[in-house]
Amino acid sequence: MSQDHELERSVRAICQAHDRDAGRLLDIVRQVQVREGQVSGAALDLIAEELGQQRVEVEGVVSFYAFFSEEPQGRIVIRLCGDVIDRMQGAERVGKVLEDELGIRFGETTEDGLISLEWTACIGMSDQAPAALVGNVIVTQLATDAARDLVRELRKHGDPQRLVRTFGDGNNAHERVRAMVVNNIRQAGPVILAEMEKGSAIRKSVALSPAEVVRAVKTARLRGRGGAGFPTGMKWQFTRTAEGDTRYIICNADEGEPGTFKDRVILTERPHLLFEGMTIAGYAIGAEKGILYLRAEYAYLRSMLEEVLDTRREKGLLGAHICGKEGFAFDIRIQLGAGAYICGEETALISSAEGLRGDPKNRPPFPAQKGYKGCPSSVNNVETLCCVARIMDNGAGWFAQLGSECSSGTKLFSVSGDCRSPGIYELPFGTTLGELLELVGAGDAVGVQVGGPSGKMVGPADFDREFCFDDLATGGSIMVFGPERDLLEVASGFMDFFIDESCGYCTPCRVGNVLLKERLDKVRAGLADASDLDYLERLGETVRTASRCGLGQTSPNPILSTLENFRPLYEARLKSPDESLLATFDIQGALEESRGITGRDSLHFRREDGRQNSQEKGATA
């Protein structure tokens, strides 16, 4: 009774603190989750009542995001990163140790209610894998010994922050971050990782008209750094001229593509550059409000980012009359995500920021016409907005002459996997993949996943290709695989990722990925024949063509690109034609018992290894 009363009081207080605004549902649910360790049925009812929503709508949101749970969770949730790279570095062994030490399996909670254990998708620490989230605290380079100590310590003091003994470099040691994360900046370039005086780019921008700022960005030939490469100036032009009184600039910091962590480093080391870029974008498109959509995995950076925003408000770089410009007002709020890769898709991100399930929206209308809350909105990548600030500070011409003919500027690469120096590299467009591999110390790479699971697996034949929008376009995730890796196992891991992260809205992505993975695993098990490769290609093509958003349109890539570039790996595992009449049927296995009884081998289906039955051999002797 008193417990019910307590829950009611706390949930109502949380809703009221958010002005009972259904648009803030993610923040509300997050607070309830943190406070109660779950979002129970009773909490769903209370939230729905407070916000004037239906229970099933709130339940729809809670059940969508990985970081929310209707079932009770432990006070501390350990989320071990189960990404392909982390598994390569031993995440499974670490997982086993955690299970043994905690006495529970993944998906369970210790009996004392202290700790829950879960797998999670890439948390943006591939260069320091295996990594885990313990509450909001990031634990990196987690060896099995350290995993054992981690559990013992948590049992002793129950404070994830105390697991951090040494801080990482730069702002990772900031008093509001205090993380063991390291930046691993291996090569800084002139655009993103160079220094800049605060406010300098804004001052130069507001001296121009908004239309001139858009023109400068166009002159610089800036294209989106998230992967799709849409021209930024054009996106702004559409947003600026769309009908509506209120406009929004939204920064996509939902860096979820496995193997990418460049935005994490930007947010840590260059937050001023980013906010400067957002402010300029606001000026250019006529937005007074900006939203930084920050993935939940990076919640540990939030407090520092809030402090940076405060500093900028104090300095007149946010708020009213920015840099003394009459009539130019702009401010930024941080929206935290809740564990959903799909929210990196711009319309899904908007849905999520509106407090809805992270379903992509139907297009048209495009965000530039009707985006956040139905208002014209421009969604831009973290790195893109940093480029904007630099362009306005150093000049469009300066930027345009960097890089290659078709792609101006530099690109940040997040490099992980089998290489000597994983980390961040800022390189001009036009750099070849081979040059990058040389820099990172990956001379023996046999396969490189360019652009994350949604990108492509390429082999040595493609190492001379250039990074640029017309050749090897990428959001910057580079995962390197050495000769000892099984690339089909890697592809299968990526398919698991897409199955977990599909929103489930459209048929081809929801069902097709499950079917693709089933058939790939059939190949891996040695039970497929040549017709299965044809099946994979056709099914993959259907999923790619018919899916509603970028997730489904790229999710077959792990299979399609390995089929294209590593076909012999598949062919080597196919059943021989004389055994392939019913490939799923293992004739050798079925014959094993009768061989034992009759004491001789089948005349028709000889053993694959040519080994003779021992008794038979005895008989002939």
């Binding site: 049925g41 009812d45 239906q54 229970r55 099933v56 709508e57 339940e59 729809g60 059940s63 969508f64 959903a340 799909i342 399930r357 992270g358 139907n362 048209p364 199955i499 977990d500 992260e501 599909s502 929103c503 489930g504 809205y505 459209c506 048929t507 081809p508 929801r510 069902v511 097709g512 499950v514 079917l515 089933e518 099946y535 056709r538 099914l539 259907t542 063509t545 018919a546 899916s547 509603r548």
Partner: protein, 239 residues
């Protein structure tokens, strides 16, 4: 009267007006574009993708894509039909569809599409998911084994009945239709006369005690393929 324009579907000139989707304009002209999640009068949803067409060479859902002057739409081509068949087969293997035991047989849009496309058996392996039933309500029965996640009940309840009886929960393969209550349908405001109940294209939401009022053999798709009603309009107009 809004302004009209023409565009092309499979070499035939079609008249459309601004604000119409490709599917709506086609339907008015007597061209049937196969669909499942679309239901006239509800907000277009674009989830089943069965209405996928090639529009100026790019795949688009005809139910959400606005018709525009000069568009070249591929509707009945081999590659488009191949995609649609594949999608219908995916829906069959995703759920547990046993037409011979289903009271909607002959009146089911999923089955109707399979017959229209000549699908005898899906090429994909059955996934045999575990799904639950909800027979709590006096007059309405939910069998999630047959749900195709088209969202017609969700939209109809919200947009037509003003009730929000249904909603989606979960994501990916775990996505499902949930009722607006702690446990079961009986606790909701649903009524057997709700449009949400009638909106189900398959046998997932059924009215109890009505199963064989229309005998097998006299049902909607027993004699003519699904979409025939729309195609007849063109024949009628031509005569």
């Amino acid at each position: 009267m809004s302004e009209t324009f023409t565009f092309v579907i499979d070499d035939k000139e079609i008249e459309g007006c601004f604000g119409q989707t490709i599917l709506e304009a086609a339907e008015e002209a007597g061209v049937y574009i196969p669909r499942l999640c679309h239901l006239k009068g509800l907000t277009p949803f674009g989830s089943c993708r069965v209405c996928t067409c090639m529009v100026n060479g790019r795949a688009m859902a005809a139910c959400t894509q606005p018709a525009a002057p000069g568009m070249i739409v591929e509707n009945a081509s081999e590659r488009v039909t191949e995609i649609r068949k594949s999608l219908v087969e995916m829906l069959f293997v995703e759920g547990n569809h046993f037409c011979m035991f289903c009271e909607r047989s002959g009146d089911c849009e999923l089955q109707g599409l399979a017959y229209r496309f000549g699908i005898a058996a899906p090429r994909y392996p059955y996934l045999f998911p575990e799904r639950d039933l909800d027979a709590s309500h006096d007059d309405i029965f939910i069998d999630r084994n047959r749900c195709v996640l088209c969202g017609r009940c969700v939209r109809a309840s919200r947009e037509k009945d003003g009730k929000h009886v249904f909603g989606f929960v979960g994501r990916g393969p775990a996505k499902r239709v949930q009722v607006n209550a702690e446990a079961a349908l009986a606790e909701t405001k649903v009524a057997v006369t709700d449009e949400a109940v009638a909106a189900c294209p398959v046998g997932a939401i059924l009215k109890k005690r009505t199963a064989y009022r229309v005998p097998v053999g006299e049902r909607r798709y027993d004699h003519e393929p699904i979409g025939s009603d729309i195609e007849k309009r063109r024949t009628a107009a031509a005569e």
